[in-house]
């Protein structure tokens, strides 16, 4: 096996076996996703969707959308900050839960809890979001509960605000973080933990030097699975955000459902994708530098 840290030009091409393992997945994705996206990429360079009898010309205008429509910069920032908040909160809430699941619960109970955490996932996302509106609205369940517990306090309405969107998003994506973190934590060799404990490491040190670093892959995986889709989310912002719920996702959706402007919608999506890919390419490079011997 070639050692890590070799310069890229000396990396061997994939072996036959490796290629065989990769082929089904990537072939499938090529036909179903990459080729259609290539068609969309082509569209994004046109002036209008190439249907009907009016000709479409080539243009780069759509990729200048952020220049031509400066308000989009603030909308993009809204999406990014939603992504950061959601990912951060999911990590803060989910990682300890995964740890608790792996270390404080055993046997049958653990299995049952594991499944219970996934179960809400199996209800329809839209109906779940709508249930949140019932909890968060003025006069809704949360409002009534607080008033019952603390009469005189009028919390007012959380619905139709930025925090409401974050709550909805965190709720929708939390299981991802719990599961990926759990997968990582569960595969940490218990011997390492015991060794650290026997050397006298106290809990905070244990966390910082053993548990957290070794479960980093899980955390990162979860971060990817959460941050990336949240960038393009439009259901939670729309339903929970009221007039505040304007994100790249809603703007892109408008291009498809109000104007027939596929080129602009596609260009905005690919711009976002480029941003995400750049971020992760940088992250991957940084990780490789860190783990190089």
């Amino acid at each position: 096996m070639p050692p890590d840290g070799q310069t890229r030009s000396r990396l061997p091409p994939p072996s036959l076996a490796t290629a065989g393992l990769l082929a089904p997945a990537y072939l499938w994705m090529t036909i179903a996703v990459f080729l259609p996206l290539a068609a969309m990429l082509y569209f994004s360079l046109l002036t209008r969707a190439p249907f009907g009898n009016r000709p479409a010309a080539f243009t780069l205008e759509n990729y200048l959308a952020f220049v031509r429509r400066p308000y989009l910069l603030r909308v993009a920032w809204t999406s990014i900050s939603l992504g950061l908040w959601t990912t951060g909160l999911c990590a803060l809430l989910g990682w300890p839960a995964a740890l608790a699941l792996a270390r404080t619960v055993g046997g049958r109970a653990r299995g049952a809890l594991f499944l219970l955490i996934v179960l809400p996932f199996w209800t329809n996302g839209l109906v779940r979001i709508f249930s949140w509106t019932m909890v968060l609205s003025e006069g809704g369940l949360l409002d009534q509960a607080v008033r019952l517990a603390f009469p005189g306090l009028r919390p007012g309405e959380i619905l139709y605000s930025y925090p409401a969107i974050v709550i909805g998003l965190v709720h929708a994506y939390l299981p991802y973080m719990v599961l990926t973190s759990y997968v990582s934590i569960a595969s940490i060799n218990p011997a390492i933990i015991e060794a650290a404990q026997s050397l006298g490491a106290r809990v905070p040190v244990l966390f910082a030097t053993v548990l957290l670093p070794l479960s980093l892959p899980g955390l990162l995986s979860g971060a990817v699975l959460i941050f990336v889709p949240v960038l393009g989310s439009f259901m939670e912002p729309r339903i929970l955000g009221g007039r505040v719920g304007v994100t790249m996702g809603t703007v892109i959706e408008d291009q498809f459902t109000q104007a027939f402007n596929w080129p602009l919608g596609a260009a905005l999506s690919f711009t976002m994708l480029a941003l995400v890919l750049a971020m992760f390419a940088l992250l991957a490079a940084a990780m490789r530098l860190r783990t190089a011997p």
Binding site: Y160, D254, N261
Partner: protein, 359 residues
């Protein structure tokens, strides 16, 4: 489904003129066992189960449905599925451009007997005709205008109520660029389809910011939020207001303010590549007739029918009738065909206004 005549019996009848009569009967039954596919909004009349049952009993034609959630989506489905649909619902604002693309057929109104009862100004509206040729059959009309909470909002007679400080954080707007630009155009005295001064419209819409609580995109969302008391003034559809009153007894009042209101007209059309055009026309005839409309209006609450005779048969206190007064037809500016770049300009402007509301 085939005739019960045995082969020998059939041969015996060959010589006699009986066969021609039998053959005619046989072919009518075979023709009648057709299935047509209709493309429409979900829950917008054409898929009412009782109606489909009635229609099947009368004509032997079964109706299947495919749905769309936005007008561009309807266009996409038409373009990418030639031959899949036999009847399609098209907002008259888009009828002509779709006809120009060659996606729908001209319709000879004499093949649609109930068309003679359509209100002439709607039947021959410029949006769906080219000279004397009709590209769609006018089916329903309605208005997008002010809706207010009865008993709480008194004396509202202008769209300006949407920026009135009395209703701070108590307004809901419709998430549709064409409608909201239209409201802005009406407020600034312009043509909703060809406004000259978009900046004035932008200013009038942005002035509503302190009042806007939410931007709704479906009737269901509106009704639930209204029932929960989230807002008191809004832009709403006339038909949906009627439904909210009759079905859910919501305290909602629909107002056509002094600036006028935005009108829309939905048409039923035959796709050019349709495989069952005659059956499609039969269904259209059924839909615009009073038998279907009256029962639909009573049971589900609908928009106003373009069939004047049918409307006149509604009970005088029916919410649809009280809201859709015929004299409004002259006060309305109907949504009409928009060139692509103008539609894009509207969407961009509305997008910018929404982003402004969000800050």
């Amino acid at each position: 489904m085939t005739g019960t005549v045995s082969r020998r019996g059939f041969n015996l009848c060959l010589g006699s003129g009986l066969t021609s009569a039998l053959a005619a009967g046989y072919s009518r039954r075979a023709h009648a066992a057709e299935t047509i596919t209709v493309l429409n909004w979900q829950g917008y009349g054409t898929d009412e189960p009782w109606a489909l049952k009635l229609f099947a009993e009368q004509t032997g034609i079964t109706v299947r449905h495919d749905y769309f959630n936005s007008e561009p989506e309807m266009q996409t489905k038409l373009r990418t599925n030639p031959g899949a649909y036999d009847v399609v619902l098209i907002n008259s604002a888009r009828t002509r451009s779709i006809a120009e693309e060659g996606l729908i057929d001209p319709i000879a109104l004499d093949a649609v007997p109930n068309a003679k009862d359509l209100v002439p100004s709607l039947r021959d509206h410029a949006n769906l005709t080219q000279g004397a040729t009709h590209f769609g059959v006018s089916w329903l009309w309605g208005m997008n205008s002010l809706a207010v909470r009865q008993g709480k909002v008194i004396g509202a007679d202008s769209f300006a109520v949407l920026s009135d400080p009395a209703w701070r954080n108590r307004a809901a707007l419709f998430d549709d660029a064409v409608t909201e630009i239209g409201v802005g155009a009406l407020l600034t005295g312009q043509d909703i389809n060809a406004p000259k001064d978009l900046n004035a419209i932008a200013a009038s819409l942005k002035a509503m910011k302190p009042n806007v609580k939410l931007v709704w995109s479906s009737e269901s969302e509106f009704d639930k939020a209204f029932a929960a008391g989230a807002f008191d003034v809004a832009i709403y559809w006339s038909g949906a207001s009627a439904r909210a009153q009759t079905r859910y007894h919501l305290p909602i009042e629909f107002i056509v303010p002094k600036e006028g209101a935005i009108g829309w007209l939905d048409t039923l059309c035959i796709p050019a590549a349709a495989k069952h055009k005659a059956a499609g026309l039969t269904f259209i005839n059924f839909l615009i007739g009073p038998q279907f409309y009256l029962q639909w209006a009573e049971s589900a609450g609908a928009a106003a029918s373009a069939n004047g005779a049918a409307m006149a048969q509604l009970p005088a206190d029916n919410a649809i009738r009280t809201i859709h007064k015929p004299e409004y037809l002259d006060k309305l500016q109907f949504m009409s065909m928009l060139p692509d770049d103008r539609r894009q300009a509207f969407v961009d402007l509305w997008s910018e206004v929404k982003a402004f509301y969000a800050t």
